[in-house]
């Protein structure tokens, strides 16, 4: 079982990212859960969403305390929240950042494996909006094998209809531009 924690800000679509990955994994025949950090959401406030993906039935309703993967949608969040909190040994933090690896490590003190992409730039160029929730899924695909691309694209089409194309393009670009460190 792989556990994912997504950090975003209220209104950035972190819950939608979680939903897309879980529905795609389920369509692929796997077991999955996606859920928000329960409670009222305020636009702009730091929020989290969670995903579990497994080959066997998932029998827990705990929150995710020790993620294998952390996906951060907003470049300003690593400076505010400890995004690597509880990360499993060998886990990976995936950041939306324009910084280099050494800058990230120095500024935020993250020691784990890293994947980085400037998703804000990609989203702004491809979608015309700095909303990175679908773009960052490209980084998630590149850095982990948690879900396959085809079912994820199908989930995007179902969710966004006509707007899916642009989101798919942004996602593809993020896949190509994501840098994964050792």
């Amino acid at each position: 079982m792989k556990e994912v924690r997504i950090h975003g800000r209220g209104g950035q679509g972190g819950v939608t990212s979680a939903e897309l990955v879980a529905t795609a994994a389920i369509a692929q025949g796997k077991y999955a859960q996606a859920f928000p950090s329960f409670g009222p959401e305020r636009r702009g406030a730091p929020v989290a969403a969670f995903i579990r993906v497994s080959d066997t039935q998932i029998r827990t309703r705990e929150k995710v305390y020790t993620p294998d993967i952390v996906l951060v949608l907003d470049p300003s969040l690593p400076g505010l929240v400890n995004v690597a909190e509880g990360l499993k040994e060998g886990g990976i933090v995936i950041l939306n950042t324009e910084l280099s690896e050494s800058e990230v490590r120095e500024k935020f003190g993250i020691q784990s494996r890293l994947a980085m992409v400037d998703a804000t730039k990609i989203a702004t160029e491809e979608l015309g909006l700095p909303i990175t929730n679908t773009t960052m899924l490209g980084a998630l695909l590149k850095a982990t094998g948690i879900v396959d691309k085809e079912p994820l694209f199908e989930a995007l089409e179902k969710r966004f209809g006509r707007l899916a194309e642009k989101n798919k393009k942004a996602l593809e670009r993020a896949m190509n531009e994501t840098v994964v460190t050792g």
């Binding site: 879980a22 529905t23 077991y31 999955a32 329960f38 309703r61």
Partner: protein, 392 residues
Amino acid sequence: MSKRVGIEVSIAIAEAVGLARAEVIPAYPITPQTHIVEHLSEMVANGELDAEFIPVESEHAAMSCCCGSSAAGARTFTSSSAQGLSLMSEILYIPSTMRLPMVMVVANRAMSAPISIWNDHQDIMVQRDIGWIQTFAENGQEAVDLTLHAFRVAEDRNVSLPFIVNIDGFTLSHVIEPIELPDQEDVDKFLPPFKPRYKLDPRRPITMGPVGIPEVYTEAKVAHDMAMRKAKRYILKAWDEFAEIFGRKYNPVESYRTEDAEILLVTMGSISETAMTAVDAMRDDGQKVGLLRIRLWRPFPSQEFRKAIGKAKVLAVVDRCLPPGAVCGPVGAEIRSLLYKIPGAPKIFSFVAGLGGRDVTVARFKEIVDKARQFAKKRPRELYEVIGVREK
């Protein structure tokens, strides 16, 4: 063919209500039930569901409309939570003794104060004695299946009682997970059209809800109680038929790794899944621990529960409700009184956990089992223990 989809549990419940062909849905939105009724109102507005959606002005009105709708012979559904459910309270006792079938999904939530929108079972324990049949779902699939089952049983002419399906707010209602949505054809096979024993019909006038003078009231209440006891047979029968059509079998009490178990956890609702994982971990450790999950809460499955205990020496009953000043939590109290003075009955310890959205983790279950083991050796000073409460 039924289809397996990744879907939010609330949406799946609404789809199930649609598959059940509900005819009247009076509802008032309240967190965390909101997505269920929002989706139903969309289905009605989009013409996908041929039903009356009545956006009432309060939960009190919602339940009043439900009574009228059921009395007029319509398949009736509503949903609520917490303070909203309590606002229905005045009406909730009415359809049950009046034998008006209807189905309500309660997305369980804590009672304020302090204000809490998060999950526990305090809202439904307030309504423990309203005389409705009540089940608890452990996961999204069960939420869907138990909703269909509820219509079938409630409307069975041998039962004719209102029915609550409890689902944990947020921890179930807001989770996306794989659920098999059944086929319309199969649901139609399982759930025939509602044919009430009596209904309000101007061509054949009757009076529903007359005064019950002291010379009648006791008999009316005993008749209701007897109807509840008799209902168990039809609840089980409907689960058997459900299994035949849909391939999933449900029981009033489910046992998990209870063979040779010395200590049994007792749970209700979605924490049961985490409890299973905890039992697996403790079994791996060589501890003889098992789990009993209560699915049918009213009528209480006394026989099945007694049988399920087997040779266990200790029961650790987990309540999601803290009734201030009571002897212990309501589930603990129920089981203590069920087993009182029964020769060879296990020792029963009552725990309160997971109030107002506090997570009940695998570690908490281990803690509960450890405490129960200690208490079995040295009697605890208190009749129950609140798990994970901070002192300072």
